[in-house]
Symmetry: D2
Subunit: 352 residues, 4 copies
């Protein structure tokens, strides 16, 4: 059994990670880390999880390294930036779910995370990326920084176009729609049920920090690969789930529906968690985040739209699973040589 | 009192129209038209409305003209296309809420409404458009075709750029998000509560017929005004409301936030139902359709996004009010010389 | 014009009151009172309301009496208890929406409102009750305390049985279901959207303070009229609306469906805001709070259930309208000699 | 591997069963049965499930018995009543999720299921009940009829009082609140999203057929054990989940909170799927169906309410899991000698 600790155990991503660990045959939860919730029991924090009387929240100290083979930071970026230097040398594997170590370039990092100070030299040691696109890199990784929920969806949506074809992608416009769980549990008036329940809220109409990650990721893989990448983000009434609508201006052959669909199928042939779907293949249109709820799937569909001469790529995932906790388990499976789907076989809960 | 009849009285737009007529000091409801619901009482059809024992659904026949000064067709486009020729000569004013008489060009009409046959020569006699942009045209109009809910939002969103500035609009991409009431009461599995409740559903990812109206409208006002107009449409968990996100590539001076906001304020200065808002002026981000629920307002905000070199215009409205029944009352007010806000002073029901 | 001020202008009930005042032909809003929001404009506080640049939140001081003919306290009970003594002598009419002056008996008051201290002798001067059951009392009232949202629904549900018949009501069990707006805008984790959205939450399973009001009200009218009154309250995913299910053990003749329905019709014949309905009279079962949303209606239905030998009375209302702001306007209309429906003619927004 | 077939594969309970079978290590799905959906693939019917190209809907014929060790009828009661006689002799195990074989007494059956004709003599051969209360009966059962979703909750809620204590239960009043998935996928207007979304709908205010099952179950265990059992049922905006509020008049000692809680803990000590909880033990009040979503748990809490001299028992479960498909798997595990939790270890998806 691989011993795993969770810092930020009281948050939504932390709770989801604990859920997945409880369902995983090779992971043993040995540490719950927190600050304001120190001393609280698991049952106090997460109303649904099976009670485990032995688990109580503790402060995160270097000592916990003795009890863990891997630690996941499900903490705000500020906290991750403070904890990572302390833990990096002491643990065989450290996984950060926050934005603290995603963006390498200091200037870009500062623009999007102005309050997150990182020690020099640490970010370069992190392996960053969606597991599907990292090949064997994770097998040796000691420090892992996982993409944001939107970045995961957008990267998976664009990769076959940018990396897998002879196309030239001139510009991408992403319109993101997501549920309230992405915002965590901060008690702001706009996030209280009365105002969030019926909202279609333009919370980031001119730019989102996850777009910066995506640009960096592709720029490193193949320079200049995306001419421009703009993003607008909206909150809708769902709790979980996001849909990233990617509107792509591309040049090249084989931009018809059929060729695009085939190219996507081919690109993700080996990937158990990416489902390339046809828009009308089921009784509801897909991709729709409700069709992946609670699972580690990312559903994709690609289409040609003659109006505007564009390619439409849709990506849906559960932001707390494939966008956070599930992707962490997937990365840990790869890191520790387990089958990639180990403990992640849960099917979507549909309808919910 | 102006005597008004409603055809399609059992539908959602019909019900909303009856609500507004009941609240209007100068309109008297004298006819409820339907086909499958003939003989039903108002209380059978609309659970919320004040009971009126005298109102029973009747078939729509030429005779009803004796009882009405104005008739609103809140019927499917196929039905409107069949009723309009019969009623056009007999009534002082006929208002159609469907798509039957919106698109003048036959080829374009057939592409988007293949099952809607219109008699020759009728569509040209309809006055089409958002009241705010029609000037005095409605005062004399005998046949009025009102824009679709999305077309209303998009037209209002783009008009200051296309008509009111020295800008050149090269291309527009619209990402629309709307509630379930836009789809009416057809009993499809995907529209049953279990599947529609948690959905972010890409129901029209590559084109929407309302976009065709918008293109036609601006083309007639100033030829070639919009280079291209593409649209994708999504359903979310709301019942009412839509948000149209318009991403605009434009050229010209004064494309900064402040100039754009001022230009919009100026353009709509005289219009009581269009509110030009700042994105962060209230405790929730606006425009958000929840902030106009039940009212005839259309909320707009315009912003510059340096990423992608674009202008973002957001438009929110209640599809059953400003997108249908409220706009009909507004047009009727103009047509019959009443103050434009007469009977439309209801404030949004927020939060709901 | 009657000049009206609103204390607690930033809350949900305050906002709803401002909405209704804006729609009212005889009320002029002359004062917005608050504490933490002093200096904020109306548009900052309530995202939907028509902007009025002249209205800014001010502290509540005795001076405001010069600007108001009537003041409504839409404040927490603690605040109402502090403000009422200051304002009581200075204003022609003061209306309190909180629980501060509902319960006359000090011991009962202290049990349910332990943190609300009232000066001696003030509560007795308040007129308390649902307007429908107060006859002419409101016409002379200087101090008015309106029932809680649940108390309004339960009182209206039970009055025909308790007051209007020869029945003997042995016991009543109320199961209440309500939306999140009843809880106001306190930032508690359980009220954040992620947890409140899918909840059926037993927030008060063994008792609710509104039940105490109801018991007191009937006890005063006809001693011993209800043997016992128990209540359990649950939160559901709605924002607005409540349904009070009253399960009544009663003895007497005429306990069949038809007699009960007729007795209710008779009892409320003159009341424009109480609708006695048949359960299956419309396309959805009623009473359902969605069928009164945004309006001042209270829908009732009464039925005999042979199992358990009981009478079932259902009452649905919009807690922010008939349960708070609308009822306040209704009381003010009565107080100032306006028609009871003045400014309250808005029909329900259905579906929403 | 145990070969399992599902009749009614296109419904909500059928889909949920397939989900659980896919997650179960000892069950192999070998047959999908249907009528109107014959020839459809799994991916056509259930938008979330992992695609399995080999599975196509077939008509249910006696022949399928060769391919199945156990068959689950997730069909309407009329269909189950027709299929069961055909299949009963041919399969080692037949499990019915419908109401066709729940009620033994013909008169009671006919009252609640007037359109469901059963052959003589068959219902007596079915083993009926919640697995937790059946002891070893399931190990030998060839024909199994599982309780309705509400009946499961109410039976588990009342069993410790009725069966496990020296109390006398005079009367029970159940107020049930449930999501829309309980109603299946019938296309009725009231179940379309616009009307169901904001509803608190009294769909069965004076009686529910699940109450009849509960009464029968306890009557057989200990005659006269419940004096009377009445029920009212309401639909709320959730898709999944139900909360049964049981208001109990009981006589005896040890009716205080602490004694009751202990008695419940003791009664269910050995039962992995029943969680006896304290109302305020977590950050949201429990039991709340959102805290068991997607899992096979039933959460219970018991409390004394001095008002009305009653005991309040709350039971929450996911109607598609513990109320249908999960309970079926649990029964099959018991029937085939597998550990009761085999394949049912999924933790609730919270919040969702």
């Amino acid at each position: 059994m691989i011993r795993i600790g969770v810092a930020g155990a009281s948050g939504l991503a932390g709770g989801e990670l604990i859920r997945l660990i409880m369902q995983h045959p090779e992971l043993e939860l040995t540490f719950l880390g927190g600050s304001r919730t120190v001393g609280r029991r698991l049952v106090d924090l997460h109303p649904g999880l099976r009670h485990d009387p032995g688990l109580v929240v503790e402060p995160v100290t270097p000592r916990l390294a003795e009890r863990c083979d891997v630690m996941v930071l499900a903490t705000p970026a500020e906290v991750s930036a403070a904890l990572a230097p302390v833990l990096a040398e002491r643990l065989p594997c450290l996984v950060d779910l926050s934005g603290a170590f995603r963006i390498t370039c200091s200037d870009v990092h500062k623009r999007w995370y102005p309050s997150v100070d990182r020690p020099d030299g640490l970010v370069e040691r992190f392996t960053y990326g969606v597991p599907e696109l990292l090949g064997d890199e994770l097998a040796e990784a000691r420090l892992i920084s996982l993409p944001g929920c939107y970045a995961t969806a957008i990267t998976l949506a664009l990769a076959p176009l940018v990396l897998g074809s002879g196309l030239r992608v001139d510009s991408v416009l992403v319109d993101g729609k997501s549920g309230s769980s992405g915002g965590g549990l901060r008690p702001r008036t706009a996030d209280l049920h009365p105002y969030r329940s019926g909202a279609i809220t333009p919370y980031a109409p001119t730019g989102h920090r996850h777009a910066a990650e995506v640009g960096q990721f592709f720029a490193r893989r193949r320079a200049g690969s995306i001419g421009s990448l703009a993003m607008s983000a909206y909150g809708v009434s769902n709790v979980r789930g996001l849909l990233a609508s990617c509107y792509v201006q591309a040049r090249g052959d084989q931009l018809d529906d059929r060729s695009l669909h085939r190219a996507y199928l081919r690109f993700y042939r080996q990937q158990p968690f990416v489902r390339v779907r046809r828009h009308a293949e089921t009784l509801i249109p897909v991709p729709d985040p409700q069709a992946v709820l609670g699972s580690n799937f990312c559903d994709l569909a690609v289409m040609r739209d003659d109006e505007g001469d564009r390619v439409v790529v849709l990506a849906a995932l559960d932001n707390l699973v494939k966008g956070a906790a599930g992707q962490a388990v997937q990365a840990i499976n790869r890191r520790f040589g387990l089958p990639e789907e180990c403990g992640l076989g849960m099917q979507p809960v549909v309808p919910a």
